[in-house]
């Protein structure tokens, strides 16, 4: 393939570069009506305009030159940059647990993409060791890159591939699994893997980072160390999400894959166990259990992989004045399952009743969850709830809406029989439904309260 020497440039900028017979990575002097500029021409992001040339000047800064002001370009050299994390062979120690790191993409390992100007995932054990050598003190790591996608592009196909791959690794005898993953849908994948991988004998730890690893303050390295410790050394044989506890570089939490949710668009401590407490607190060399009951690590390899998923499932986030056509269009388009995130205890308005009746008549499974996220669906309290029950909506207890969505897809992937689906849905798996909600399961303290402020000051955010 011919190398694109004018990477990212288009339209007028491209024409100017061609006119002066120059290319990306050329060292040039550009004369303009705003004066003389000297530097190396860099590739341009595809989404940026066609009116500027990007130049790296000798102090290391980048600047843009407006093509309309260019009067001449003189090339005096050429220097192509190669962005590469130093690869070093990951050392092996007999006395350390063997952990498999499966890569899916995301910011846990990433590098600059000149095409879009954004960061793209990069991943190899050598690179990883080059960037986070401390990992070798924790465990032996081998890696496999399954796919390189942003987390928003993860879906049922990826869940299935991942579940099967993990099953194979377990059979091969690994001591623990880490999955590097973008954070946006980390909790969806965690739920999917919890359902698809039944009875795992080793920890399966999903980890990501909220600040990309190309910045010095990134949480990537520490999250990875926490995950490596949890996967290699912990005795919790469950699907877990491992992310920062506080925003400070102090410790991580291990959250159960079915009760965890991303709660802030950018904070490091964005993942929270909802309606319960995390399973454990983890550092790079220690683990403290927070919950008493969990599945213990086992020597056997008896794991059951159920890689099924029906894609025709949707979540409907109810809002006041929602019209029946929203539900109707799903039914008309052949959807087999709908999870409603209703208001309060699990409600929608009356105009939707006819649509719901039609859906149930069409054998569409409809489950009710709450958009308050915390708390149970209680449909017997108000008339609306009782009406909805009568129309065939099934309350999903205190299952999180996203978890209910994943579970319904997984259930419908296994059977079309509404009764069997209902049985699967309402049988608790790994606390996706809990019998009781402890009082410390709901903690959103309000700032400004003196006691809260004092706590924050003392214990770090």
């Amino acid at each position: 393939m011919k190398k694109n020497v004018l990477q990212g440039y288009k339209g007028r900028a491209l024409a100017v570069l061609q006119k002066f017979k120059t290319r990306v990575w050329s060292q040039v002097e550009i004369d303009t009506t705003r004066g003389l500029f000297k530097g190396t021409i860099l590739p341009r992001s595809e989404n940026d305009d066609d009116r500027h040339i990007v130049l790296k000047i000798s102090s290391g800064y980048n600047i843009g030159i407006s093509v309309d002001t260019v009067t001449s370009i003189k090339e005096f050299g050429y220097k192509e940059a190669k962005y590469k994390i130093k690869e070093r062979e990951f050392p092996y120690a007999d006395d350390k647990p063997n952990v498999k790191l499966l890569g899916t993409g995301g910011t846990i390992a990433s590098r600059l993409d000149y095409r879009t100007g954004a960061v793209i995932p990069a991943f190899s054990p050598g690179e990883l060791y080059g960037a986070v050598p401390e990992l070798a003190d924790i465990c032996n790591i081998t890696t496999e890159k399954l796919f390189a996608v942003f987390s928003e592009n993860m879906g049922p196909d990826e869940y299935k591939i991942l579940a099967v791959a993990i099953g194979k690794e377990i059979e091969k005898g690994t001591d623990g699994i880490i999955i590097g993953h973008g954070t946006d849908t980390l909790h969806h994948t965690a739920a999917a893997l919890t359902y698809m991988i039944q009875n795992p004998p080793v920890p399966i730890v999903l980890v990501g980072s909220q600040r990309s690893s190309d910045r010095p303050s990134s949480d990537a390295a520490l999250n990875l160390m926490h995950a490596a410790y949890a996967a290699g050394h912990s005795d919790i044989a469950e699907v877990l999400v491992c992310m920062f506890g506080p925003t400070s570089d102090e410790y991580g939490f291990l959250h159960r894959g079915t009760r965890v949710r991303k709660m802030h668009s950018s904070y490091r401590s964005t993942f929270r166990t909802v309606g319960d407490i995390p399973v454990a607190k983890v550092t790079r060399d220690s683990l403290v259990h927070m919950k008493d009951s969990y599945n213990q690590r086992r020597k056997d390899r008896k794991v059951k992989i159920l890689p099924y998923f029906e894609e025709k499932v949707s979540i409907v986030f109810y809002y006041p004045n929602m019209k029946p056509d929203i539900i109707n269009s799903l039914v008309d388009n052949g959807y087999k399952g709908i999870v409603i995130a209703g208001t309060g205890l699990g409600h929608v308005n009356k105009p939707l009743y006819t649509a719901i009746e039609k859906a149930v008549a069409n054998n569409v499974a409809i489950y009710m969850t709450v958009q308050t996220l915390w708390g149970y669906v209680h449909m017997h309290v108000y008339e609306t709830g009782r009406d909805l029950l009568a129309k065939g909506i099934i309350p999903a207890e205190n299952m999180l809406p996203e978890v209910a969505y994943i579970k319904l897809g997984w259930a419908l992937g296994q059977t079309d029989d509404p009764e069997k689906v209902k049985e699967i849905m309402l049988t608790p798996i790994q606390d996706d439904i809990t019998e009781r909600e402890p009082y410390n399961g709901y903690l959103i303290y309000q700032g400004g309260v003196p006691e809260v402020e004092e706590f924050i000051k003392k214990f770090r955010k």
Binding site: L36, R51, H52, G60, G64, I65, L112, V119, K457
Partner: protein, 666 residues
């Protein structure tokens, strides 16, 4: 070598061998001899309401112990865009610091602490910076690219500073030369350091994110005074816009200095321009001394590439004569290590800066890189002899030292010793090769200490969170229309007005030319009077009275306008200004009452003269022929102020003596 080696004599001897002369005795010939070269990086906070990349208020400072929460971070080096690790980055990583940020809710948000991506750049700040870039004759870029400049010292929670170039290749005009500018950038200010002890460094986040510009010059300055002149010029230029912050820390300079054969060394955070000459002077001689050391070492040591230190762990008892390390060792389980430096005799006490020797270069690095607090070493060439000869011999024997060697004793936490030894060896090896590329911190005595390895262009990385910002032609042209007059023209203007030169600094520092111009043009004030009213009188008053918070120089204009309307002589302003400065809310009429001013017709005062003349004759004992004039002026001064100009009155009194008639002109 002779047995009776005296470190003190060696210090003096090497100081004169280097050719060190104190600043006040140095001439251009001295600077030419050592090849003095310096450039400036001038930082200036911009006067905006909000921070550069978030909506926190800019410039509310909290006390260091006033905070709502603390956050802990660690910094890791990352690759630059060109795929290289930066030297400083690696050094900082070696130091393994825990960084604590203190946050006050009113001055810092989740952006400051790197829990939220940046908001679009502050347009107000961008425009002020562009205005200054235009004034600096820079070539303005077509598109602003936000870049990340790595700082692993923790001074910025992201680990990098968001910064962008607005213009390149400009110039400023000093009295005798033009100095070229490399570039001007806009950037976010960093945290203020609270403390740095061992492996913990604490910052507060109030200053973080305040819009800042950095003007960088070429190394065109040929002596320390020129550097200061350049710094003043750039400061005045920034202030001439009236849109930059003033006060402590609002303007800070980094000075880059080298000697012939030396290296660019960056001296950070010089907050007073008056310190610049001393600091640059000492730095150029420090480098000159290091080159001298290099010559000595290369003569003494045959194979520098194979040069190595030797070390041995000591017991606390071995060094009981020096209480500090031995106590520390017992209490904190510190390790004590003796280090032999082959061929370094005469080097550790070699002059580097006034009162400092090569041993300081080692001690400074131990503090910064190995995180071992000072005092952290003793050596065989202490100027103050703390090391008893007998012990020194014992250590030399233990190390099998050669008479040509020098010895160190270092101590610190066991975990830090490997880094400490590495650091010593690394610094000593550099002594054979070059002046190390580093940034240094200035001290009040005019000397400097090691701060960190100087970062290079490898620490730059495009900010993937921000989009480029195009600078359209018509926007730039619009800004060009409203630029203030250039500083060198301001100087010209002041000279033309015959305002005394000793006021220029004050006037330009406070950007007073526009208000002086208004006084002259609108109120017909004599230029020289206007200039000295600010540059002498107000300056004097400001030295004695604190400003009330809402005082502005515009108040002086209003005062003069008030006097003009009341037909009161402007000289009265000098008495009224202290009141205005102290309490600018007070109305001018009540100040007149407070100073007991009475409006008296000019003639009434003049008519007093013959009476007073007569009275003086009766009481006079002086032989001075002007005594009468002085006495009468003294008597009339109070009633004259505001009613008649004292110069005019004096002429009339003189005339009375000469002609007998009180009048101004014949």
């Amino acid at each position: 070598m002779k047995r009776n080696f005296s470190p003190r004599d060696n210090y003096q001897k090497t100081k004169s061998a280097v050719g060190y002369v104190p600043l006040h005795k140095a001439t251009q010939a001295d600077y030419d001899r050592v090849g003095f070269k310096a450039g400036l990086e001038v930082h200036q906070q911009l006067k905006t309401e909000k921070k550069l990349f978030c909506n926190c208020p800019a410039r509310i400072y909290n006390k260091y112990d006033d905070y709502d929460a603390e956050i802990i971070r660690h910094m890791r080096p990352t690759l630059s865009e060109l795929g290289e690790y930066d030297g400083t980055a690696l050094m900082e990583f070696k130091t393994r610091k825990t960084i604590i940020y203190r946050i006050k809710n009113e001055t810092a948000c989740t952006y400051d602490i790197d829990d939220t991506p940046p908001f679009p750049i502050n347009k107000q700040a961008l425009d002020i910076a562009l205005e200054i870039a235009l004034l600096s004759k820079l070539n303005i870029v077509g598109e602003v690219h936000i870049t990340r400049k790595q700082y692993l010292d923790g001074s910025i929670p992201t680990g990098f500073q968001r910064t962008a170039i607005l213009g390149v290749e400009g110039e400023i005009r000093l009295r005798n030369k033009r100095v070229r500018l490399i570039q001007l950038s806009i950037e976010e200010d960093s945290c203020r350091e609270v403390s740095d002890v061992g492996h913990v460094r604490t910052y507060q986040t109030d200053r973080l994110g305040i819009p800042l510009i950095e003007t960088v010059t070429y190394p065109d300055f040929a002596n320390p005074d020129e550097v200061r002149e350049g710094a003043e010029y750039i400061r005045f230029l920034n202030r001439s816009t009236g849109k930059v912050r003033t006060g402590i820390g609002a303007g800070r300079e980094d000075v880059n200095v080298s000697c012939r054969g030396g290296t660019r060394v960056e001296i950070k955070g010089v907050s007073h321009n008056k310190w610049i000459p001393e600091i640059t002077h000492n730095e150029v001689f420090r480098q000159w001394a290091l080159l001298k050391i290099r010559r000595i070492l290369n003569k003494k040591v045959k194979n520098p590439d194979n040069w190595k230190i030797q070390h041995k762990f000591l017991n606390p008892e071995d060094i009981e004569f020096i209480s500090e390390p031995s106590i520390l060792a017992k209490e904190n389980k510190y390790k004590i290590v003796a280090v032999n430096l082959p061929g370094f005799r005469g080097i550790l006490s070699h002059f580097t800066q006034p009162g400092k020797t090569f041993a300081n270069e080692l001690s400074d690095r131990l503090k910064v890189i190995a995180c071992i607090e000072k005092p952290n070493l003793l050596h065989s060439e202490q100027i103050e002899q703390i090391f008893p000869d007998a012990h020194l011999h014992k250590i030399k024997d233990m190390m099998n030292s050669n008479p040509n060697d020098a010895q160190l004793i270092i101590w610190g936490p066991a975990d830090d010793i490997p880094t400490a030894l590495e650091t010593i060896e690394e610094r000593c090896k550099m002594a054979f090769e070059r002046v190390p590329n580093e940034s240094r911190k200035s001290l009040e005595d005019g000397t400097t200490i090691f701060e960190r390895v100087l970062p290079g262009p490898d620490r730059m990385y495009p900010d993937t969170d921000s989009e480029p910002i195009p600078l359209k032609e018509d926007h730039i042209n619009q800004l060009k229309k409203n630029l203030p007059v250039e500083i060198h023209e301001r100087y010209e203007q002041l000279r033309k007005w015959k305002i005394p030169e000793d006021t220029y600094n004050y006037i330009l520092r406070n950007n007073l030319v526009p208000v002086i111009e208004k006084l002259i043009e609108e109120l017909g004030v004599d230029p020289k009077f206007a200039g000295t009213l600010f540059g002498h009188d107000l300056k004097y008053i400001e030295g004695r009275h604190a400003h009330s918070s809402d005082f502005s120089y515009e108040k002086i204009y209003e005062l003069i306008k008030f006097l003009k309307q009341g037909k009161i002589n402007f000289a009265l302003a000098k008495i009224m200004i202290p009141f205005v400065v102290r309490n600018s809310k007070k109305d001018f009429a009540s100040i007149l009452t407070a100073i007991d001013f009475k409006q008296i017709p000019k003639e009434d005062i003049i008519n007093e003269i013959p009476v007073l003349k007569k009275k003086f004759k009766e009481i006079n004992k002086s032989r001075n022929k002007d005594a009468g004039i002085h006495w009468i002026m003294g008597e009339l001064r109070k009633s004259a102020l505001g009613n008649i100009s004292l110069a005019e009155l004096k002429k009339i009194v003189e005339n009375t003596y000469k002609t007998g008639i009180p009048r101004t002109k014949t």
